[in-house]
């Protein structure tokens, strides 16, 4: 009975989001749609990053690497051979690079696939270490991918990056895949795999004593997260239409980290709330950088004030809600809690 009711609520959420996408696409201006696209893509990234960092508690710092792989795979598959011909200015590309071509769906799936394969290979060395060491090892991996992109111009066109990527991403694609990503991650979290991941986070030795294969739990989380980071990278490439290695430096990971910590490490819906606040909020606060009028007195433009205010807000949230806005709770737990206390 209660299960059915929950399903209705979830379904109405999904249809609500789809309806909103439809309305937004036809009525909102280009700038707003751009922000919504960003929010959708970062929802995909944040929700999947939260699976390994928050739910499984493995503090890793590599998503920029997987996003870069996804973006480059999609870009290489989407840019037409003619466009590639004149883009490679540093060295001539390998012949196979020119012949690569696929449609958008195949490109996205392959982006996710390559990121997952790499995650699988990586998980063997990476999960030999715990805690701080894991963070350092994964951080190194993120750097390696970027350096590889710069120093392998035969494939990636080096620091010039790839341009003229067809702009296939629109709100239907980004929003639709965001919905799929959220549902997938929630289904994982609410299964034995999710329970095993949480057990690893809470007490890895106790989890082993319960017969949990903790390496497997971590690898599942890592690979799922890599898959959606790869897909998200592909969507990003097809939204920005040009990519370069600088886009995928550590700041990218840092931004995702802020989102999931703000939303509440371990909370999937918290990751969504965090994305909307950080991506939407930082756009909304742009007025702070411009000249402002107070009681007839005009302050000069202060570029950067936006980031100062943003940082202050972050500090305050972390001071008063140490576990993030949602803690480890999901949105529906909040409603349940209210019902119980009302009784």
């Amino acid at each position: 009975m209660t299960v059915k009711k929950d399903q209705w609520i979830n379904l109405s959420f999904v249809f609500g989001v789809i309806g909103f996408i439809g309305i937004a696409n036809s009525f909102f201006d280009e700038y707003t749609i751009r922000i919504l696209n960003n929010i959708a893509i970062f929802t995909i990234l944040a929700v999947s990053y939260n699976l390994i960092n928050g739910v499984t508690g493995q503090f890793s710092l590599e998503p920029n690497g997987f996003v870069a792989i996804g973006a480059y795979v999609t870009a290489l598959l989407l840019v037409s051979p003619e466009a590639k011909q004149y883009q490679y200015a540093i060295v001539d590309p390998y012949p196979f690079v020119l012949s690569l071509h696929a449609n958008f769906v195949v490109a996205l799936v392959l982006s996710g696939f390559f990121a997952t394969c790499l995650a699988l290979v990586l998980s063997f060395p990476v999960f030999r270490v715990r805690g701080d060491y894991l963070a350092i090892v994964t951080l190194g991996f993120g750097f390696i991918i970027k350096i590889f992109a710069i120093n392998y111009p035969e494939v990636t066109n080096g620091s010039l990056g790839l341009n003229d990527i067809p702009e296939f991403s629109n709100l239907y694609w980004t929003g639709g895949i965001a919905i799929i990503a959220v549902i997938t991650v929630l289904n994982i979290v609410n299964s034995k795999f999710g329970r095993a991941m949480k057990a690893v986070r809470d007490d890895e030795d106790a989890a082993i004593a319960m017969g949990v294969n903790t390496f497997k739990a971590k690898t599942f989380a890592f690979c799922t997260s890599a898959f959606f980071e790869g897909v998200g990278g592909g969507l990003l490439a097809a939204l920005l239409t040009s990519i370069s290695p600088d886009l995928f430096d550590f700041f990218f990971t840092f931004q995702l980290l802020i989102i999931i910590v703000l939303g509440g490490l371990g909370s999937t819906t918290g990751a969504i709330v965090g994305t909307i606040l950080v991506m939407g909020g930082s756009e909304w606060m742009r007025f702070l950088d411009e000249p402002m009028k107070f009681f007839g007195y005009t302050t000069p433009a202060m570029p950067g004030l936006r980031m100062v205010v943003f940082s202050l807000i972050l500090i305050f949230i972390m001071l008063f809600a140490r576990e993030g806005i949602m803690g480890k709770k999901e949105l529906k737990d909040l409603f349940k809690g209210r019902k119980r206390s009302a009784k």
């Binding site: 289904n187 994982i188 095993a196 057990a199 986070r201 004593a209 017969g211 949990v212």
Partner: protein, 255 residues
């Protein structure tokens, strides 16, 4: 005979934590492992559960050598444990804590979970039902949706044992189960262990300092001191054994 520890030695660098220790536990026995602090009791537990590999000797469980196996695989063969300081999963509910014990018994794949395949729903229903059966047995099903760490100490200990039983063990290792409990809680725990032995067909191996508890509960004890066996037999005889007394209280004989 369900468990046989044969001539096990464990060295940590230059320190010998356990020296050439052998003992056997019979099916459905409650076997006590006692001794002063630092005697090597917990080390012995960690060897049986696979957390440590013995420096020499062998551990035989149901006629199979299990030393050197990965700890989670030993659990799957039927050895469950609790910890000296209760280690429940702090962010999870009582029910989820018990469900972790069913992790390897739920038969559905990763993709069946993502797509909410019928087998996923059926299996989840099955293990939830069994988890509630175990919680009912311990009188804890009313707390199923509470956070495990919000319970009292005695209740947490029950949840920990329930969680261990969820792995469907034949041998249950309890590391100081009565530590930090008041006399009435200790008595209740003793009754639970005795009753669970019958109802779950369990063999129990426990570490305990509370000699009254050991006396009431255990069929047999092994007394360790500095990694060596100094006594094996009935608990009532152990407390009269001169070597055991001197190990606990110091040597009074001056020649």
């Amino acid at each position: 005979m369900i468990l046989h520890v044969n001539n096990v030695t464990k060295n940590f660098g230059g320190v010998t934590a356990i020296k050439e220790t052998s003992f056997s536990v019979d099916r459905k026995e409650i076997f006590g492992l006692i001794g002063p602090n630092g005697a090597g009791k917990t080390t012995m537990f960690n060897i049986i559960t696979g957390n440590y590999e013995p420096s020499s000797g062998e551990v035989i469980f149901r006629n199979e050598m299990i030393h050197g196996l990965k700890p989670h695989l030993i659990v799957r063969r039927g050895i469950a444990r609790t910890f000296q300081n209760i280690r429940l999963f702090s962010s999870m509910s009582v029910l989820d804590n018990v469900l972790i014990g069913f992790d390897f018994q739920a038969r559905y794949s990763f993709f069946e979970a993502i797509s909410r395949f019928p087998r996923f729903i059926g299996e989840e229903k099955r293990i939830k039902k069994r988890a509630f059966e175990i919680l009912d047995y311990f009188g804890m099903s009313a707390f199923a949706h509470d956070k495990a760490v919000d319970l009292s100490y005695g209740q947490q200990r029950k949840v920990e044992i329930a969680r261990a039983l969820a792995t469907n063990p034949e041998l249950l290792l309890l590391d100081e189960p009565a530590a930090g409990m008041n006399p009435s809680e200790t008595e209740e725990l003793g009754n639970i262990i005795k009753k669970a032995r019958e109802d779950f067909d369990l063999t129990v191996l426990l570490i305990e300092h509370d000699m009254k508890f050991v006396n009431q509960l255990c069929d047999k004890v092994l007394v360790l001191d500095y990694g060596k066996t100094i006594f094996e037999g009935k608990p009532s005889d152990a407390i009269q054994d001169s070597e055991v007394i001197s190990a606990y209280l110091g040597d009074f004989h001056h020649d």
